[in-house]
Symmetry: C2
Subunit: 275 residues, 2 copies
């Protein structure tokens, strides 16, 4: 049955959003809707213009016989600015300070509405970078990293801090988990989880001394792979030299007030480094 | 600027997909597009018809002054059937058996394309159930549970097996982790993660003896809350009586062959119980 343009636009939009970063040949759509390629091209022109004007993302057109279209989720400058401002307001206005200078973030990290914005914002930063996997460490970083992986449409790889019997052979490394106390931790990853020569994006919730991120960087090396970027939600206060400076942070913790359990948070370097 | 129908349909579809299970007043759209409510109603009729015909989901119309529309992601019968068949094929055709009768699933559990289908299928089962939170236990179950939480648009709550300093006060319970060896484990959840009187959906990757799921059920009770459902990806072989039978499983492991490291997997009761 031939379809109407209006119906095609709705279904096409859904299909593209569910298959980001995937090259979709025009023939797929013309078969799906039993419509001429010329009609499909006109549809896609409308989708492309709307995606761009409404800040949904970029619809890339790849010409030629092996060509098609590819939807790349992208948040525009203004939306990223607003999103970071909203995040700061949310964090500054509640009693989030926990003993030890830690910040309670689990509610945000479990909320789909925040996770979608976080994932889309971070994925926007890396939209032109070739990425094979998103890596994080269990457990806190997983929801954020997964959301980024959703928008980049690449596998998520979870490094664990304890051996699991269900993983098969693993590669493990020791890393300095807290440089002020020269504390050493262990992290490991299943052999099957990451191919050699992979390009890896590291995503985590927090950075303090940088030991965890540095550990993941060493682990990636053990797989003869390459770290192409690292982004965290928040950079915590840290007295001393971090073991890595090769990351971007959405937010920066400026000061903590243990009396009323509040913190002062400002924009990290994520926005300025990427816009 | 007044917008064209074609542009509205594309942007509306995106907006609805990003805000599932959320009541959206018509005035939001008529403001956003500077269009009359009558035009918006016509647009939504097209979206509704397409969502239904294409198996994207249901667009519920809530009449009255406080009304609007609500998008409920739903996979149709045929798509769920196909999805489960694809999943079985994927698992049966590869060497996934690990020592101890465990099944390697981490690649699927990290792949956004599988996670989207898993999340949408499980969310479809509970589309008419009132749910406040999706609960899982760290670490393996997190990606699946998060995907379900995305499609239900409710918070994800992660129970941990070890104390984390960053969580504030917690509630912990002991549970029988392996009834054949009467092994006891501990799981805990931050006080702030779950309100009392919550309706909780439990999602996990595997069930063997049922101890983990039973543990989460006890934990929910400790928060004076209620478990409204439990679903796992796969039910493993288990000799003996499971500590709970109150769950559905997408798949069932029928037999394992340790020589060639393969397993035989078939449809679980998920499909028949819900369709």
């Amino acid at each position: 049955m031939k379809t109407k343009r209006s119906e095609r636009l709705v279904d096409m939009t859904h299909y593209l959003l569910e298959n980001p970063h995937t090259l979709i040949p025009l023939t797929l759509f013309s078969k799906k809707y039993e419509s001429a390629k010329s009609s499909i091209s006109e549809d896609l022109a409308i989708v492309k213009r709307t995606f761009s004007e409404r800040g949904i993302g970029i619809l890339e057109t790849v010409p030629g016989a092996a060509g098609g279209v590819k939807y790349i989720p992208k948040m525009n400058r203004k939306d990223i600015k607003n999103f970071i401002a909203d995040l700061i307001e949310e964090l500054n206005h509640s009693k989030r300070l926990l003993p030890g200078g830690y910040v309670y973030l689990s509610d945000l990290m479990g909320d789909p509405k925040w996770l979608r914005r976080i994932g889309r914002a971070i994925a926007s930063q890396y939209m032109e970078t070739e990425i094979d996997s998103v890596m994080t460490v269990a457990t806190k970083g997983v929801p954020v990293a997964q959301s980024v992986a959703f928008y980049l449409d690449v596998p998520l790889v979870i490094v664990s801090r304890d051996s699991k019997v269900t993983e098969g052979s693993t590669v493990s490394i020791n890393y300095v988990s807290d440089s002020s106390f020269a504390r050493v931790g262990k992290m490991e990853l299943s052999r099957r989880s990451l191919n050699t020569d992979s390009k890896v994006l590291i995503v985590d919730d927090f950075i303090k001394g940088g030991g965890t991120i540095n550990g993941m960087m060493s682990l990636v090396e053990e797989f003869d792979s390459e770290v192409v970027g690292a982004t965290v939600i928040a950079e915590n206060i840290y007295k001393g030299k971090r073991s890595t400076s090769d990351y971007t942070a959405l937010l920066k913790v400026d000061s903590v007030n243990s009396d009323d359990r509040t913190i002062a948070i400002s924009e990290g370097d994520f926005y300025s480094k990427n816009m």
